[in-house]
Amino acid sequence: MTAVRIVFSAREAVSAVSAAPRKVLVAEDDVLVRMMIAEELRQRAYAVIEAASADEALLIVSSGEAVDLVLTDIKMPGSMDGLGLAKALRRRWPRVKIVIVSGEQARSLSGSVTADALFGKPYEIEHILACIDDLIGPVTH
């Protein structure tokens, strides 16, 4: 039997199977970085919610918003940082995938981090996007 593999782009996949886009919550206090990451994700057909702090991110998830993955920076102002956010998410919403990015080197952080993936400095945005694709993909099936 011949195996046929059909490859859709992310946008084609959304329209082809009428699947709901996966929802990514981006928690990042640097507006320029947040804008860039959010835009890249939207171009890949993800639904994106932007939070300017861990507190905002937790508020959104606590409200019942169905988030598939949280991408968070570590250093953020407010009552908790990205690590605190990751711990709170894992404890209360264990199905939500967590990806952490940091200005620190990943090696110095890995022992204390609750996450599905950790990107330390220097990181490529493409690697983060590929990781998110692997963890949840742009659409539900």
Partner: protein
């Protein structure tokens, strides 16, 4: 052309400035659904950071009046009028004095809160049409 399709022909960019994350999320989603590109700022300081990068294309600023931080919506509108006069500004707020103050800074009175997202899209469309008829960008 329907309201929903208003922004698709020539995608315009709306900067939404709102410290309430839920309000920001709802209006931003709605405007994206209308076909606009939307940039989100959680306060006036973030908005200033974005607007100081001239390579970031912005056509309209939709901002809350009351926001924490070093600058509220009025001061932000004043900064825009002085530094980026080609941008259209829409303010929204529930402060009684908002109407008077905003009238000096914007072409139209502020949208009272809570607002219907469709009214925001209609206001944007009207402002852009007016600017276009004046020969602006």
């Amino acid at each position: 052309m329907t309201t929903e399709a208003a922004g698709t022909a020539n995608q315009e960019t709306i900067l939404v400035v709102e410290n309430d994350v839920f309000a920001r999320m709802v209006i931003s989603d709605y405007l994206r659904h209308c076909g606009y590109k939307v940039i989100e700022a959680a306060g006036a300081d973030e908005a200033l950071t974005l607007m100081q990068h001239l390579e970031i294309k912005i056509d309209v600023v939709f901002s809350a009046v009351q926001m924490p931080g070093s600058m509220d919506g009025f001061r932000l509108a004043r900064w825009i009028r002085d530094n980026r006069p080609n941008l259209d500004v829409i303010l929204t707020g529930s402060v009684p004095k908002a109407a008077d103050a905003a009238a000096q800074l914007c072409d139209e009175s502020p949208l009272p809160r809570p607002y219907e997202p469709q009214l925001v899209a209609d206001r944007i469309r009207r402002l852009r049409a007016a600017r276009s008829s004046r020969g602006g960008v």
